[in-house]
């Protein structure tokens, strides 16, 4: 038959209309987030056979498709989660870096001020003004610790809040994707040809949002239904079934909340730190960087309290009493119990405690103690090293460890496979407080002193190495005894082989031949350590005799007198206290207090600057992926403007065909009229 020129013209008109509509759609969505430009696929209509020829019969729009490259889209997704994670970590660490650099500096200067005060007291032990400065500085120091700890806890709380918010968002996204899947499934049934382009865009946009929070993987099935996997492959959306993400309180530490993926019939725990994206970064920051910093601050607070408390205990205050604790006792019952956390899954009822024995040895790591085959096995959660604490013998058993603390079974008993998480420094910075309020109570004075006889000729010395009970030491040396004499001579004479030094310790009022309270010998180059009063009485102090004390004979020994040294003007103990500022008393006796603080701050700083580099890289990678994706799918207004003109002209031309057909028709009509 004849080709309908009208038909052809109309088909061109319609095609141009659809093109114009698509172009218009593209132009109006130029700023729509996640929009993929669309294109009308135009095809020539199959021609009609006219004799030997095929005569074209116009055109039709086969499909309107998205210009979409799934590979570049997936690359962008992947980079988006990396960027989300890197940005979140960078932001958090920058904040922590600022907190540590400002609050940390305040802390460092209050440590310095406290020691400055102690130096003042060492110089003028009976000056009440100087003593009250020490107490005020100690209060400032404990406040600074509290504040810094508050800051850190506040950050943990805000991270937790963010985790909860993100979790809710993810659950909502999950619901929506499932809904879109459903709609797509329905619409697919109705018309086979076209795609629900804008629904697909909407779904991709949701996945994109999801990828900021966590690592995402998607699979689209033949029906166009998308399944979404997050993190390490846990299904979040299974076709039209959405699962939701929930935050569960941590166990044993409720603040260390964890994530669960909850479905209609299932509930699976997720490892937060492995999720990737902003969510993973939140967990990594909270459980690694922030926790590590808090452990450092806790340990510092503990070491300073313990050091100054011990110094106080070995001296006498202005009233001649043993010095009381300057800061909260590091082994108070509350603190001891707080260092052990028991998961609710434990079957036994063992309550355990941690007793700190040496703050210099305490690491900043956490430990897990597990009862396995009757033995308590302790694992360092940072490096995985294992220490066997021996069999669990029930209440009252003390297990010592090489880490400066004892694991104490206080009540109850553990069942097999029960575990306990140990945080040795837990709560130290939160609970540090000044317990000394009376200026007289600063123990500036030492209890006993040694004076060498002026007749002594050698370089030997007797020194007081430790004072456990200064009051008893004082009573013992000046009331129980009228001064304690130590005499030493070299026996046999120096030239003889195997020369040793023979010492006697006795009451000055009853010199030998009365029986001395202690006698003995020590070899050249070594020394003798003697507890006083001697066993079986509880030792109040300890002396060490050392050096080559060449007394000239049994009747002419070198002598030392140990006597009461208490006095208002005695600042020896304050001097010893002040000197702890420069001693390496923390981190395995490797650092001073301020060095330790500096190291902790520098650690945060280097993590923060690393995170910044990582974030910069992630941003660059994301930009590339974004550019690649936009190169394919993005709307370019110039291009659309050109298209607009092109299709407008096509439209006009098609109209012209109709007009031509009309003219032809008119010509025929007028011919026959």
């Amino acid at each position: 038959m004849t080709v309908s020129l009208y038909q052809t013209g109309v088909s061109g008109l319609l095609a141009a209309q659809q093109h114009l509509a698509t172009t218009g759609h593209n132009i109006s969505n130029v700023n729509t987030e996640g929009y993929t430009r669309q294109r009308a696929e135009q095809n020539a209509a199959v021609g009609q056979v006219s004799g030997p020829n095929f005569i074209g019969s116009g055109t039709y729009i086969q499909d309107i498709t998205r210009v979409y490259n799934q590979f570049s889209y997936k690359e962008q997704l992947n980079n988006q989660s990396n960027l989300g994670g890197a940005d979140a970590l960078n932001g958090r660490l920058t904040q922590l870096d600022q907190v540590m650099s400002t609050s940390g500096n305040a802390l460092a200067s209050s440590i310095e001020q406290l020691y400055q005060g102690l130096n003042g007291v060492a110089d003028n032990p009976d000056d009440t003004g100087l003593r009250s400065i020490v107490i005020n500085q100690a209060k400032t120091l404990s406040n600074d610790f509290n504040t810094l700890n508050d800051n850190i806890e506040q950050m943990a709380k805000s991270v937790n809040g963010e985790i909860e918010q993100v979790t809710r968002n993810i659950s909502e996204i999950s619901l929506e994707i499932a809904k879109i899947n459903d709609t797509i499934l329905q619409s697919q049934g109705l018309n086979q040809g076209g795609q629900a382009n804008d629904l697909l865009d909407k779904r991709d946009q949701l996945v994109s949002q999801l990828s900021e929070y966590t690592r995402v993987n998607t699979i689209v099935d033949d029906n166009g239904v998308m399944s979404v996997m997050i993190g390490q492959g846990n299904t979040l959306v299974a076709g039209i079934t959405p699962l939701t993400l929930e935050v569960a309180a941590g166990d044993p530490d409720p603040v260390q909340s964890s994530l669960r993926l909850v479905g209609p019939n299932s509930s699976v725990a997720l490892n937060g730190a492995k999720l990737g994206g902003a969510l993973g970064a939140g967990f990594e920051f909270r459980d690694q960087h922030l926790a590590q910093t808090q452990h450092e601050i806790d340990r510092l607070a503990m070491a300073i309290s313990s050091t100054l408390n011990n110094s106080q205990a070995s001296g006498l205050d202005l009233n001649g009493q043993q010095g009381i604790n300057m800061f909260t006792d590091i082994n108070s019952l509350a603190l001891q119990a707080g260092r052990v956390a028991s998961p609710s899954t434990n079957a036994g009822n063992l309550q355990a405690q941690i007793f700190i024995t040496d703050t210099a040895l305490v690491p900043t790591d956490q430990f897990e103690v597990r009862l396995s085959a009757g033995e308590l096995v302790m694992t360092n959660l940072t490096d995985g090293s294992i220490t066997n604490l021996g069999p669990a013998n029930g209440a009252g058993t003390v297990h010592s460890t090489p880490f400066g603390f004892d694991f104490v079974e206080s009540t109850g008993a553990a069942s097999p496979d029960d575990s306990f998480i140990i945080t040795p420094g837990k709560n130290s910075a939160a609970l540090i407080d000044v317990t000394l309020n009376n200026t007289n109570a600063i123990a500036a004075s030492s209890a006993v002193g040694v004076s060498a006889s002026t007749n002594n000729v050698s370089d030997g010395a007797v020194v007081i190495t430790a004072v456990n009970d200064p009051q008893a030491a004082r009573t013992f040396s000046s009331i129980t005894n009228a001064g304690i004499m130590v005499d030493v001579y070299e026996s046999p004479p120096p030239s003889a082989p195997g020369a040793a030094f023979e010492y006697r310790v006795y009451n000055a009022a009853t010199p030998p031949p009365a029986i001395p309270m202690a006698t003995g010998t020590y070899a050249t180059g070594s020394s003798a350590v003697i507890d006083l009063p001697p066993s079986p009485a509880a030792p109040a102090f300890q002396i060490e005799i050392s050096g080559q004390l060449i007394g000239a004979g049994t009747d002419a020994r070198e002598t030392f007198t140990i006597a009461d040294a208490f006095g208002a003007g005695n600042g020896s103990n304050a001097l010893a206290m002040a000197k702890t500022q420069e001693q390496t008393l923390i981190n395995g006796n490797n650092e001073t207090f301020s060095q330790n603080l500096a190291t902790a701050t520098a650690k945060v700083g280097s993590s923060a600057s690393n995170a910044e580099l990582v974030a910069d890289t992630a941003q660059a990678l994301y930009n590339q992926a974004y550019n690649r994706n936009q190169a394919t799918s993005g709307v370019n207004l110039d291009e659309e403007a050109a298209n607009l003109l092109k299709f407008q002209q096509a439209y006009q031309a098609s109209s012209q065909i109709i007009s031509t057909a009309n003219t032809i028709f008119d010509t025929i009509l007028s011919a026959v009229r």
């Binding site: 130029v30 660490l93 920058t94 540590m100 650099s101 460092a108 020691y115 130096n119 060492a122 110089d123 003028n124 032990p125 009976d126 002193g449 004076s451 002026t454 007749n455 000239a552 004979g553 009747d555 002419a556 009461d564 040294a565 208490f566 006095g567 208002a568 003007g569 005695n570 600042g571 001097l575 002040a578 000197k579 420069e582 001073t592 301020s594 060095q595 603080l597 500096a598 190291t599 701050t601 520098a602 650690k603 945060v604 700083g605 280097s606 923060a608 600057s609 910044e612 930009n623 974004y626 550019n627 936009q630 190169a631 993005g634 709307v635 370019n636 207004l637 110039d638 403007a641 607009l644």
Partner: protein, 407 residues
């Protein structure tokens, strides 16, 4: 490459915000003048920087302590120089008194002057510092350390305590001397023993010239005190120990009279005598290696007050010599105490200048690490500023270009 419109806006925006951030950060460094504001800026240097800060704080602490130690030691120096003057006066008075022409009244007048000087010295020994603490009381700084008994003797109730203060990492320096060390432990000019003389029976000016333990192995305190006797008939010299056993001469040697300058050795002790012993004289040795300066001064005053009227003029002269010798020992003791404080002041001065040097070094090191290189920073800042400006201008030019303008 195909560039989408959204991409163009996003990229330009991102770039400008990055450049903005850079300019802001450079500004914060410029306005503070510091290269390192937080640990993040340079973690390695930050740790070093804190180390420097700690060293500087320590140096400041040492310097403060040095100032304190200097003021304490200065005060001692002043007190000891006063004491030297007083002792000089007393010695002059004693020399003046050793004149046969002096009457009892004259001596009495000199004794008054001397006593007055002793009182002043006693006051000096009870000096207090600016906090009201007694500087020669050892650790008992809130109690008056020296007190006078009714018989004029002076008792020390302080202790041996020496307060120390840290003036460098491993150096503690004393800020006081105990009153005991300052005034009570004047070295015995004779050596290890003082002699007690039986004035009633002694007639001569015999006295100990020196008495020392030379062999500690042979000396046994349980045999002390020893007594040197001059036989009332033969003038032979013998020494007996506390048990009455003759220890000099040891048989078979026979007792002989003392020859001037002879050294007598017994039980690890060596003794020489001065003067000419007369029959019946005896001296008992008391082990005492030091004497209080107040005892010496009291002896001097007593000697002056007893006047010329004594049984033996030669004995009086012997006593005088002993007192004057011990007084000289006292003077050199006080001088040595003054030197002690002076040496500490010198040490403090040299430490202070050492600290200043260290401070300078550390401050320089710190500044290299911490301070901003302004020339570099400003040129970088200018660069960033221009880059920002350029991208802003480029953006404003390019963003207006659209095909739609021409349709």
């Amino acid at each position: 490459m195909r560039v989408s419109t959204a991409q163009f806006y996003l990229q330009s925006g991102l770039q400008m915000s990055n450049q903005n951030a850079e300019v802001t950060e450079q500004m914060s460094h410029l306005s503070s003048g510091k290269r390192i504001l937080t640990a993040k800026d340079d973690a390695v240097s930050y740790a070093t920087l804190i180390g420097y800060n700690e060293s500087l704080a320590n140096i400041e602490k040492y310097q403060r302590n040095i100032t304190q130690a200097q003021s304490h030691n200065n005060l001692q120096e002043v007190v000891f120089s006063e004491a030297e003057n007083l002792l000089n006066n007393i010695k002059e008075q004693m020399l003046q008194a050793n004149n046969g022409a002096m009457s009892d009244e004259d001596l009495e007048a000199i004794a008054k002057q001397t006593r007055n000087n002793v009182e002043q010295l006693f006051d000096l020994a009870n000096s207090q510092n600016e906090h009201g603490d007694y500087i020669f009381a050892g650790y008992q700084s809130n109690q008056q350390p020296f007190s006078q008994e009714t018989d004029g003797s002076v008792v020390y109730t302080g202790d041996q305590g020496v307060r120390e203060i840290q003036v460098a990492k491993n150096i503690d320096i004393a800020t006081n001397q105990s009153g005991d060390a300052a005034f009570m432990q004047v070295k015995n000019h004779l050596g290890d023993f003082m002699g007690s003389y039986t004035y009633a029976s002694n007639n001569s000016d015999v006295a100990l010239a020196s008495a020392n333990i030379t062999d500690r192995g042979a000396y046994n305190t349980s045999d002390a005190p020893h007594t040197i006797n001059i036989d009332s008939v033969t003038s032979n010299l013998t020494v007996t120990d506390s048990n009455g056993v003759a220890v000099f001469p040891i048989a078979p040697a026979l007792p002989e009279p003392y020859i001037a300058g002879q050294t007598i050795t017994f039980d690890g002790i060596e003794v020489t005598l001065s003067g000419n012993p007369l029959p019946g004289d005896s001296i008992t040795l008391t082990q005492q290696s030091s004497e209080s300066i107040f005892t010496t001064l009291n002896n001097a005053v007593n000697w002056l007050e007893q006047g010329t009227n004594t049984s033996s003029q030669s004995q009086r002269q012997g006593q005088y010599n002993q007192i004057l010798d011990q007084l000289s020992a006292g003077m050199s003791h006080i001088t040595s105490r003054r030197v002690d404080a002076g040496v500490r002041l010198q040490t403090l001065d040299s430490l202070a200048s050492r600290h200043l040097d260290a401070e300078l070094n550390i401050t320089q090191g710190k500044s290299t690490l911490e301070d901003l290189d302004f020339a570099k920073a400003i040129s970088e800042f200018e660069q960033s500023k221009i880059a920002l400006q350029a991208s802003q201008q480029a953006f404003s030019k390019v963003q207006g270009l659209s095909l739609f303008n021409y349709i």
